[in-house]
Subunit: 394 residues, 2 copies
């Protein structure tokens, strides 16, 4: 159930004192060089590890991922870049490769420099404890406000045998990946062309991690990376076709499972909701409306209270910036049709209230403007979110 | 200190049972017909009173405003339109004019029909109790989750004498007016051409009520209206010039005071902040960045906690969708320069923390991309906001 499930990977997670306590440094290493692909945050304020990893992955090859929690190494200027490169150098020594073969990732507080001596010691320790059983420890070492690790392993039937995809992620706040993602690391033992791997990752993320929002705040450090070891004695995927389609579907499924775990562990989350928009003119319109509803503080607090206050959903749809005919809008909470043609139906309030206790809560918005659809997962806005974020650095 | 401060206006506020208790119906009437102007919500889901009032104001004339709280008359379809027109008809009988001379406004829960019999009785009662002293009662009757009435009266020196502007507003949640506004009603005793009045209102609102955001949720019912009675024996303002400039400046000042009162009474607000962006390429860019920072849940919760977590401001700037060079960004909290060139400065944490206790908190973002600037006022996101909104309809 981890990044070490596929053949050809070892991992470790250690504590080196970036956080006051607990594990805070993860290393995931291929036994040899891997095909690699990644997508990064679209935030203009990109953290040093994002800049360094993007450069390192230019050749679509990598050997290992080193990631720390407790410090984002963002807003740290030139020193941040030196520190990120030093992380790569130390990890290269630990696993025996060139620094350019290392993917570097960081998550935590912005604007504080890394305690690089501790990080260097932690990387050496992690390198010495890499093992086939280390996936769980690595998954724990990348967490921040998460309350539990997030891991996936699934099998993938190909014509000539069965491959495996493993994955881990962190993320609980500052989550609105939108074109990139948070920290998510995938491993697989298939052999695949780097360009195809990049395409599979982009498509998988577009239908999973890019469709979650906890607070609308896109991070400076988001990154999703996949390493393909080719550790299985199977033919390499070098072209489009059945094998590529199967791999892409499996990668999407792994990414969706991680996405669901992240929303469920959203900061302070007590309810999870799926917002689905149908009948839009364009898919982009549907996505924009879904996101506006999912990020509305009024919708999210009503969700926290279990209040089927559909008028707030209507108001959020109306301010989404999409040209639409509100008099053709239908609205469903679970299976309860609460509004028709933009106005209240004579619905059963008790049933509508019960729809807010389903898991996930299903908010369905049907426009009468076309045939495009979109969806997003979100969670509620509760006291817990305020508690966690009012004093995050203290 | 109210809408009855200018000559030529009477007002009343009564309780007619739309809310469980308290005043919920306001009437503000000119002694005779007034020049009138209004701006309305840009939400595509427009409430019935918005549709009716826009039609009534097509001729830039009005006699009175009738407004209720406790029910937004939004998401109510054809019945909502009939009810809004019935409010106008009843108010026209009460003040002695045509229904088309009445501005109708509603605020409260969306998706619930008006108890029109009670409203009709309330309008008759309000009509019978109109007085020069009724401004305060009217200001109380339009409140929802507001904790206090919001009123302004100020004098305006013109070449030939002194005129007065009065105003009242309501608004505490679902506040992100953006191109229109919440419920705000202005009165004045100057005589002014309707077209100039519209222009003065639009410009005043653009520099005041459009620059506040409490939760980013633009309402279905937003409306700002100004009635000019011409009750003073002064020359009418029929052209641009000194008198128009003086009037516009005074109207802007009145609108700013209301805007400040609204943010200060934001749902659950414990701190108020001014976000100012300088050095942008375009004013639109500056406004967009200011709004993104002001609406970021992470920035707002840090504000609630008094935590000078400037990294979240940096992250919000980066995701605002504006093309900018983060390595030229400077950031100030109050007078403390916390980040320079996109990275942390060696600042005094105690002073930065003290800057979060100023009123308002001043967040200043200096880009190095141009000379345009923008600003917005906001409040924090506290437990109080969640409390108020988790069970708003219950």
């Amino acid at each position: 159930m981890s990044v070490t499930a596929p053949r050809g990977f070892r991992a470790a997670g250690v504590g080196c004192g970036i956080k006051p306590a607990g594990p805070d440094l993860a290393l995931v290493a291929g036994d040899s060089g891997c095909s690699a692909a990644a997508v990064f945050t679209t935030n203009r304020a990109q953290a040093a590890p994002v800049l360094v990893s993007r450069a390192h992955l230019a050749g679509a090859r990598a050997r290992a991922i080193v990631a720390n929690s407790g410090c984002a190494n963002a807003g740290t200027g030139e020193r941040g870049l030196l520190d990120a490169r030093e992380m790569a150098r130390a990890a290269a020594v630990a696993v025996g490769c060139r620094p350019e073969e290392i993917v570097v990732a960081s998550t935590g507080v912005i604007g504080v420099p890394l305690p690089i001596e501790r990080v260097r010691a932690g990387i050496a320790e992690a390198g010495a404890s890499l093992s086939r059983e280390g996936g769980e420890a690595a998954a724990r070492a990348i967490l921040t406000t998460d309350t539990r690790p997030k891991q996936v392993a699934l099998e993938l039937r190909l014509a000539d045998g069965t491959a495996t995809i493993g994955a881990m992620a962190k993320g609980s706040g500052m989550i609105a990946p939108n074109m990139a993602t948070l920290l998510a690391f995938f491993t697989t033992d298939v052999a695949i062309d780097g360009r195809l791997l990049q395409r599979a990752l982009r498509e998988a993320v577009g239908e999973s991690l890019n469709r979650i929002t906890i607070d609308g705040d896109t991070s400076t450090n988001d990154m999703a990376v996949v390493l393909a070891s080719g550790g299985l004695p199977l033919p390499a995927i070098l072209d489009e076709g059945d094998a590529f389609d199967a791999f892409r579907a499996a990668l999407t499924e792994a990414a969706r499972r991680l996405a669901a775990m992240i929303v469920r562990d959203g900061e302070g989350a007590t309810r999870v909701a799926e917002v689905r928009v149908e009948g839009a003119r364009h898919a982009g319109d549907a996505d924009r409306i879904a996101r506006t509803v999912a990020e509305s503080p009024l919708v999210k607090t009503a969700l926290a209270g279990g209040d089927p206050n559909w008028g707030r959903i209507l108001a959020a749809v109306g301010r989404a910036g999409v040209d639409l005919a509100i008099e053709r809008l239908d609205l469903f909470l679970g299976d309860v049709w609460v509004a028709e043609g933009g106005r209240a139906r004579d619905y059963d309030e008790t049933r509508a209230r019960a729809a807010l206790d389903e898991d996930p809560v299903r908010i369905r918005i049907r426009l009468g403007d076309g045939s495009a659809a979109g969806w997003i997962w979100t969670c509620d806005l509760s006291h817990g979110y305020v508690d966690i974020n009012a004093h995050y650095r203290s």
